[in-house]
Amino acid sequence: MKIEGNDWFYTKEVKEHFMNPKNFLKNKLEISDFNAYGKVGNMKCGDVMELWLKIEKNKIKDVRWRTFGCASAIASTSAMSEMIKGMTLNKALKITASDIMAKLNGLPAIKVHCSVLGDQALREAIKDYEKKN
């Protein structure tokens, strides 16, 4: 992880996902298209994440999210949303916090708990889907 000598606190991958996040929920009407939902985190620790999945034939066709939190929380949700698109549920369930971190080219140690939230939200959403189906 290269942070020293940079004029930005995080990696450039975090910066890109934070400044231009992908797949976030722009319009609430979109939700009707999605069939799985997960929410994790709380305000006390300062991170809350919501995730919507569109699952068809055991595959994640599309994804939307909303996140309250710091740059690394927003960036890690965005990065994860790109990773899981097109994935089978089995494969998605294997995603770990370190996979998300690798995609962001690393996070400062104190920030790791934020990215852990991404894979937790994913598991919550898949659980929700399995309950409904």
Partner: protein, 423 residues
């Protein structure tokens, strides 16, 4: 090739438009200050303890700087101890009293220190450490505006005195670094002295804008530093009334009246004297200018951005401090998006700290965690103008709007598309 690389690097750092609104973190060194201090690095570089001419030149400027500062503080020059930072001065004041007490009590700390909940970590952590030696520490509450509870202070002082153990020292900051709240130091001094207790005040944030006459303030010790008054980082001082006895933290060659050993930082001390003089001279005018700008900024943020809360007292507030919480979003995100636009601010959010807790100051004034996480401090200074504030608010509005759009905490509480933020 190498040349090209260097050129590009320089460009990214200097070409970006920068609006610095973090003067409470630190100030740049003023040109006048730098110019006056420069000769003491290379030409008049002597050690004031040396007996030769080079040494005497340094000694004279040390004496002169002390006199200049004593004049501003309205104290005796022997009452000024130069240190390496505000934090060091605070440590010297608190531990200095504590160690004196411990020497008297065979190494055990006996007695009570009083402070208040929104103090700087330099004070809180020092006092917390002193509890290990047996000292008792009381933290007085503040109200929702951030002002210390005077009744509680008086009750605690009275109780300790009745028990035959007057409180050793009260330490209360002059003005708060996060929310800019100014404490009623004169009143606090009056109460402390009524019960025979000494008062130390951390004046680092207030020095640029508030009166520094220690006789009028009636403080027994006062901490100041250079890095908040357009002087140098790594410079500070402790004003201490002559009759108060403290132990040093740093032992050695007997410098600073045996209270702070180590060859004096002459350029830094000259810079501190000059910086404090300039502050004193321009205090009235600059405070008035910033106050107008501050109030303009507060009013405009309230008008342009829904669901914001001004943290800290409106009335008893430093002229350069604006601190808002933005509902539904987190401070570090706001800070970093503004940073991309060249705007430098700070936040009380845990995400931008070394711990996982939000600002103890904001929690102490009663803010729920969510709002404490969503706070931004704008601290104004010499280069702040209305134009820069307008640009800042424009960018702030955009950043807040975007972050609220992607925040569940905002969207779930504010019905979609009709609150004027998400359009």
């Amino acid at each position: 090739m190498v040349k090209k690389k260097i050129k590009r690097k320089t460009k990214t750092h200097s070409s970006a438009k920068e609006i610095y609104l973090d003067y409470s973190a630190t100030t740049p060194t003023r040109k006048e200050v730098l110019v006056e201090a420069l000769p003491y690095f290379t030409q008049k570089f002597g050690n004031p303890s040396s007996f030769h001419q080079t040494g005497l030149i340094a000694k004279n400027v040390l004496i002169d700087s002390r006199k200049r500062i004593a004049k501003i503080l309205n104290c005796d020059e022997k009452e000024i101890i130069f240190t390496g930072s505000g934090t060091e001065s605070i440590n010297l004041a608190l531990k200095g009293i504590a160690f004196k007490n411990m020497i008297k009590n065979n190494g055990k700390g006996i007695g009570t220190f009083i402070t208040q909940k929104t103090e700087h970590h330099a004070t809180l952590e020092t006092l917390m450490w002193l509890t290990k030696f047996g000292f008792n520490v009381i933290q007085i509450d503040v109200n929702s505006e951030g002002i210390l509870n005077l009744t509680q202070l008086e009750n605690d002082l009275a109780k300790n005195k009745e028990e035959g153990m007057p409180v050793l020292l009260v330490s209360v900051m002059y003005a708060n670094n996060e929310i800019g709240v100014i404490q009623p130091i004169e009143k606090i001094a009056e109460i402390c002295h009524k019960y025979g207790t000494l008062l130390h005040s951390d004046g680092c944030q207030g020095a640029e804008y508030l009166p520094l006459d220690v006789k009028k303030l009636d403080v027994d010790m006062l901490t100041l530093n250079g890095s908040k008054v357009y002087g140098f980082k790594g410079t500070g001082l402790l004003f201490k009334k002559r009759e108060i006895l403290i132990e040093p933290l740093i032992h050695g060659g007997g410098h600073e009246y045996n209270l702070r050993a180590g060859t004096e930082n002459i350029p830094g001390i000259v810079a501190l004297a000059k910086a404090l003089e300039l502050a004193e001279k321009e205090k009235k005018k600059e405070s008035a200018r910033l106050k107008t700008l501050r109030d303009y900024m507060i009013k405009k943020i309230k008008k342009e951005i829904p669901k914001v809360i001004l943290n800290g007292s409106v009335k008893d507030r430093l002229p350069n401090n604006v601190n808002f919480s933005f509902e539904g979003i987190e401070g570090e995100s706001i800070l970093l998006r503004l940073n991309e636009k060249g705007i430098r601010v700070s936040t009380g959010s845990a995400c931008a700290s070394q711990s996982l807790d939000p600002s103890h100051v904001l929690i102490s004034i009663g803010l729920p965690h969510g709002l404490a996480h969503g706070s931004i401090r704008f601290s104004l200074g010499k280069d702040s103008t209305k134009q820069k504030i307008d640009y800042t608010i424009r960018e702030l509005k955009e950043s807040v709007k975007f972050l609220r759009m992607i925040s569940p905490e905002w969207s779930n509480k504010n019905s979609w598309r009709n609150k004027g933020v998400v359009k």
